[in-house]
């Protein structure tokens, strides 16, 4: 099992690589002087080199392992509840509107610390207040369902 830093360095090399490849398709010089590819080539090139150096260092050092990084037990469930409820909100908001998505998301999160009926009550209350503030007072066009909420 490699150190987590190996994967982080790999991520930066990948990002740098994609930018470098795309930048290589852009003109380096233009009619007036520097072209749109000049900065991206240099930035991504440097990013690849430095991330590669960090990768070599990460291979040599023991560093943080995946097992140390990801929490266990309740901590992991709490983290998954946060990310999962957020992702769920994003997936369904287009179809069911802000109100239902928000209640569902908040219910998942409040249920981690309170009995389900308290969680549901708080979710409905918070959603109603925020819907009123953002939609009616601030005039933000929130995504809504066919009933208008």
């Amino acid at each position: 099992m490699k150190s987590i830093e190996v994967y982080v360095s790999g991520f930066f090399i990948l990002v740098g690589g994609v930018i470098f490849w795309q930048a290589a398709l852009l003109p380096y010089n233009s009619q007036y002087g520097p072209g749109p590819g000049l900065m991206p080539i240099w930035v991504s090139g440097l990013m690849i080199i430095l991330s590669a150096v960090n990768l070599v260092i990460a291979f040599k050092n023991k560093g943080t392992q995946f097992a140390d990084l990801i929490p266990q037990g309740t901590g992991l469930i709490n983290l998954l509840a946060c990310v999962g409820s957020f992702a769920l909100f994003m997936l369904i908001v287009k179809y069911v509107g802000f109100t239902i998505s928000s209640i569902l998301m908040l219910f998942i999160l409040f249920s981690r610390g309170y009995k389900w009926y308290w969680g549901l009550g708080m979710s409905i209350a918070v959603t109603a207040i925020l819907f009123f503030v953002f939609s009616s007072i601030l005039g933000v066009p929130l995504p809504v369902n066919e009933f208008g909420w």
């Binding site: 900065m39 943080t64 990084l69 957020f86 909100f89 908040l106 979710s123």
Partner: protein, 501 residues
């Protein structure tokens, strides 16, 4: 004298009922952000940024600035009472503030911190009034090459101060820079790295990156650590003033802290952790009995707290006069300026004096509000530290979603915030600094524009950068900073001061 006249006009602008109310909302929200776990000044300011879209620019920035310096005050309370810094600039306050609280002297620690913060903040604002117009006047002589060189110095300092994390700091800064390249090329208008996505044609939204990297990642980490943790009951606060014999050393520490904070605030690329560490180190060095430090020495609270707030005020000088942010929180203010159609830089003082002086005047008022809030109302703030995270987390999360959505009324920005939140979570776990990502994202745009303009003027040659005295000096300074940092990183003697989170 001219500045004084403008300042009086500024008080007229800031003194309207609407602006006074927004200033009060800003500092109160900032105090809450500082006191409560899970959000720092950067995320807190970013959180309210979308809500200011409907406000006039001066009112919006008055409120956002209030959050910024309010959070600086608020972080002290948790440091002293429960040994948990609300934001990283208050880290040093824990060293002596918490031992003082354990000795039943929490009131004195908070009192001297509030007084020091007030004095530091006000002195920094006076320097801003005196120095700001002079710097802005000189900066008017700056062309694109000088701006490019100045940004290089700022980024060098930011990365150079990473100490042992120099390599990671450089990678993080380059990543931020790469993010800034997405969207339209500043000279030719060519769309770059949008991968066919319409939303990316204008690049990533600053707020999505700031809230994701700083706010969301912190929420994920706090959630896994202590979602159901019982809040620690803070001690009762009595007697807010120091003992008679403590006033002398405290005032000296406050004055030294003010000087350190103001000087470092002027340097683009530093962050508020550095002046607090420096102030604490100096206080310990000049103390007659250094062994008291770490056991409840009042100078250990007075110095760093003053330095922190003096820095916060002075850091506005490079922002107002050069358009260069010193820290991630200031970068959010820069983002607010741009979103409200203002161009930070030397022309800001000339073109929008009512805006600049209105904001500066509001800071005097805000600092006074904070002093009142902190001295007689300290017990109220102490009780806020007891709000359980299991209530806070869902509320903060949904408000962040709404904040990100409100920028363009688009779920794309919310998705981007989630992606940057997950990335920030992993980066924090492996101690990759986040500050350089955000600052390089902001400075990257300025840097590319000024570099491309310069190269167009110089017909593609780099040599004229070294033929112009200001740009040449600045580039040599940047080279020296990086070289010295590399040397210390090699020796592993650098200050390991990650930027504020």
């Amino acid at each position: 004298m001219e500045s004084l006249g403008y300042l009086l006009q500024g008080f007229e602008t800031a003194g309207t009922w609407a602006n006074l109310l927004l200033c009060l909302i800003g500092v109160t929200f900032g105090m809450c952000v500082g006191v409560l776990p899970g959000l720092g000044p950067t995320a807190g300011t970013a959180l309210l940024l979308p809500l200011t879209f409907g406000l006039p620019p001066v009112s919006a920035v008055i409120m956002l600035s209030g959050i910024y310096y309010g959070a600086m005050y608020g972080g002290t309370i948790t440091s002293v009472l429960i040994n948990t810094p609300g934001e990283s600039a208050s880290l040093m306050t824990c060293m002596d503030g918490y031992p003082m609280a354990r000795q039943g002297r929490a009131g004195s620690a908070l009192g001297i911190a509030a007084i020091g913060s007030f004095i530091g903040g006000i002195l920094a604002l006076l320097v801003l009034i005196l120095v700001g117009p002079i710097v802005a006047k000189q900066a008017l002589k700056f062309g694109p090459p000088e701006y490019f060189a100045l940004v290089v110095v700022g980024l060098s300092l930011l990365i150079g101060l990473m100490g042992k994390s120099l390599l990671r700091g450089l990678i993080a800064a380059l990543f931020g820079f790469a993010l800034a390249l997405i969207g339209m090329d500043p000279l030719t208008g060519t769309i770059r790295f949008a991968f066919g996505m319409e939303e990316l044609e204008d690049g990533f939204e600053f707020v999505s990156i700031a809230m994701g990297l700083f706010g969301l990642s912190e929420i994920f980490i706090t959630a896994e650590e202590n979602l159901n943790a019982q809040a620690q009951k803070p001690p009762k606060i009595q007697n807010m003033l120091p003992r008679r014999e403590e006033w002398g050393p405290s005032i000296k520490a406050i004055l030294r802290g003010s000087g350190i904070g103001m000087i470092l605030g002027l340097v683009p690329g530093t962050n508020s952790v550095i002046p607090t560490i420096l102030s604490y180190t100096i206080e310990k060095k000049v103390a007659k009995d250094p062994s008291r430090f770490g056991k409840g020495a009042i100078e250990g609270v007075a110095g760093p707290e003053t330095a922190n707030n003096a820095y916060a005020g002075a850091a506005l000088i490079p922002l107002f006069t050069l358009g260069i942010p010193s820290s991630p929180s200031i970068a959010i203010l820069l983002g607010a300026f741009i979103m409200h159609g203002l161009t930070p830089g030397p022309t800001l003082l000339q073109k929008n004096p009512e805006f600049v002086w209105g904001v500066i005047a509001s800071m005097f008022i805000g600092n006074l509000i904070l002093l009142i809030m902190n001295l007689p109302l300290a017990n109220v703030w102490a009780r806020i530290t007891m709000v359980p995270f299991k209530i806070l987390l869902p509320n903060v999360l949904i408000i962040m979603i709404l904040g990100a959505y409100s920028i363009n009324n688009s779920m794309f920005d919310v998705g981007a915030m989630l992606a940057f939140g997950i990335l920030g979570y992993f980066m924090k776990k492996v101690a990759f600094p986040l500050g350089p990502v955000l600052l390089a994202f902001v400075l990257g745009k300025i840097m590319e524009t000024s570099l491309l303009k310069s190269l167009t003027i110089f017909s593609g040659s780099f040599i004229p950068f070294f033929q112009r005295p200001i740009s040449a000096t600045l580039l040599v300074v940047a080279f020296a900073i990086i070289s010295i940092s590399l040397y210390f990183a090699y020796k592993e003697k650098g200050i390991d001061a990650d930027t504020e989170i």
